[in-house]
């Protein structure tokens, strides 16, 4: 009874959000899973259970290997996006941390692209990344042509092999500032005593960063990777506004949408579940890691 009094009020306060989560997140995940193992391929509804057939078909029988192609696109996009955003974020944070004039101004400048929606920036980047070269060039290619750098002109996202790397450029532009803010907070969170102690021990600036400061930033870097990683996996709006839905730049989230438009609910559900698992592969180890960290602390 005393126990109940101890955790009862807390549970009562939490219960609305718990119920909402149970219904709208976990309940719907369960529902999607159920649809994904059914044969609900049109508006007629389901006729029965087909096991994992929808999943295996995605990998073996999809026309032109459409699904594996979308996974490949997603992989290229994610790698370039994560590496680019982390690199520029860390670089800017480092420069600001070393002390430049008008830090507040630069911080706002770098962070501001994040305030723009992917849809709005996507429309602008669609124009910037105009794939025409030479005399018909537009956007960035025209700028490059004007500077006499014709060799650097690119077909951007219409390149069949590396197009998705170009698609990551707007995403890097938007989120590198966010990574910078995270790292900057990380730098500022390191107690001054540590720096002083390192200085007392006669550490060079390189040693200071390599052995004292950067190790302290690992949790920040991990958070940044997780946040960007799960955004990247679910990328939809940016690609929809730069290229529209089409084979060349299709990723699983867009494939889900295209499949839903044709009322193939079972297939769309199967792709969604695979996407969920992909994100879970990234997020769950992180949750376990932080949980352990907190217990140790």
């Amino acid at each position: 009874m005393r126990r109940l009094r101890q955790w009862g009020p807390g549970l009562l306060l939490l219960s609305p959000s718990l119920i909402l989560l149970a219904v709208f997140v976990y309940g719907l995940i369960a529902w999607t899973t159920k649809v994904s193992v059914s044969d609900e391929h049109n508006a007629l509804g389901s006729k029965g259970f087909v096991g994992l057939e929808n999943y295996t078909k995605l990998f073996t029988e999809d026309i032109n290997d459409r699904f594996t192609h979308s996974l490949k696109n997603l992989a290229v996009f994610t790698v370039v996006f994560l590496v680019g955003a982390m690199f520029f974020g860390l670089l800017w944070a480092f420069i600001l941390e070393r002390g430049v004039k008008a830090e507040g101004f630069f911080r706002t400048v770098y962070l501001f692209p994040m305030a723009v929606s992917f849809v709005a920036s996507g429309v602008v980047w669609r124009w910037l990344m105009n794939p025409n070269k030479g005399e018909n060039a537009g956007g960035l290619n025209a700028v490059l042509g004007g500077l006499g750098l014709d060799f650097a002109q690119s077909t951007w996202w219409t390149n069949p092999n590396w197009g998705m790397a170009s698609m990551a450029i707007p995403a890097i532009w938007q989120l590198a500032g966010y990574v910078m803010a995270l790292f900057l907070a990380g730098f500022r969170g390191i107690p001054a005593e540590l720096r002083e102690a390192a200085a007392m021990d006669g550490a060079s600036t390189y040693r200071l960063y390599r052995n004292v400061i950067l190790p302290q930033l690992t949790p920040v870097a991990l958070s940044a990777l997780i946040i960007l990683g799960h955004m990247s996996m679910k990328m939809f709006d940016l690609i929809m506004s730069v290229s529209g839905p089409q084979w060349l730049t299709e990723v699983p989230a867009i494939y889900v949408w295209q499949t839903l438009l044709t009322s193939d609910y079972a297939k769309a559900a199967a792709i969604s579940i695979i996407l969920l698992l992909l994100v879970a592969v990234v997020i769950v180890p992180y949750l376990i890691y932080t949980n352990r960290q907190e217990k140790n602390a």
């Binding site: 508006a43 459409r66 830090e103 794939p131």
Partner: protein, 430 residues
Amino acid sequence: MAFSPVKRTGFTRRAAVAAVGVAALLTAGACGSSDDGGSGSGSTKVEVFTWWADGGEKAGLDGLVKQFGTDCAGQTFENGAVAGGAGANAKSVLASRLQQGTPPDTFQAHAGAELQDYINAGQIEDISADYDAWGLKQAFPKGLIDNLTVDGKIYSVPANIHRANVVWTNKKVLADAGITKDPTDLAGFIADLDKVKAKGIKAPLAIGKDWTQLMLFESVLITDLGPEKFTGLWSGTTDWNDPLVTKGINDFKTLLTYTNTDRDALDWTDAEKLVMDGKAAYQLMGDWEAADLDAKKFTDYAWFTFPGNGTTFQWLADSFVLPKGAKNAEGTKCWLKTVGSAAGQKAFNTTKGSIPARTDATPSDYPKYQQAAMADWKSATQVPSCAHGSACSQGWQGAANSALGAFSTNQDVAALQKALATAASQFVKK
């Protein structure tokens, strides 16, 4: 989310946590959506669900509504238009409303195979009896009636007809290249393309992304297979592995070499602009291009049917249906009657830039291009279009667009044929 300049010491780990939290909230909030179910409880309201929200389409709808007001006194029109995405947004809203059992009183759908999904799902009513009562079987050409009929039943009333297999040209560019006659077969077309190319126009045939490529490909198939075998591709009587299809793909591949390399980045209006600017000589597009060119005040254009198609008229149509469980079925029927009537078709089509499905319309009411199309509509062979849903279901259309998109980059003839054959085996009516 603009960060106000914070003092050096103030910008801490706690701020970072807050930033992370806000970002998470923003991501979650982005998923929210709201679609209004619409009311329509009154028995005299007719909710008409379309994706005609602006431009010539909206003007056409307004004309139709006016006619509806006179023909169906006592009924009130309620506009249920959902804008955007060339109908994609409307279709997703419609799908959920149909699933929930709260359909609009009538909705817009491409006539032909695209209706198949709704018919299979038992979501729309058979209106064959009304066709007889309204005399529509005599008013529409037989080719169209055959295409609309599924297992002996008709489910929709087409409001208009568009033609897909038309090539639009820039007269000046052609004159500069010394081309005076329209080509009548593929070889002649390619010879003309070479002539234009010799004048320094690198990409004489303008084209856009996947579905515009599918339109060109379909026109080539009509030429290589003939109208009957072409229609058979979609009904299941012609095999996609036929060597004539291989020839069609190869011809299509040849034509692609005359097109702009940035095709996947362009929509049809961007390709149209290439023709208007004289950077290209030809574009294959549906005949809504005539209305669009007129609206853009570009007059130096001409057109011909895709070379080798002969008199074949590749049609697509917007049509209206009677959903099962419509609240005001009587009002819907009156709407459908208006849509099919001579006055209704005139009110709609003279403003939208399409032609009436009826063969008894007066040509002099219409602009120049439409008059020619109306004459062809009466006499020509009618074949459906997959890119616009009259030949194939939405799933098939999606698969075909994707396959054409892949072909645009890899140019793999065998892979395209295999992909299309597989799509046919999955989607053809069984």
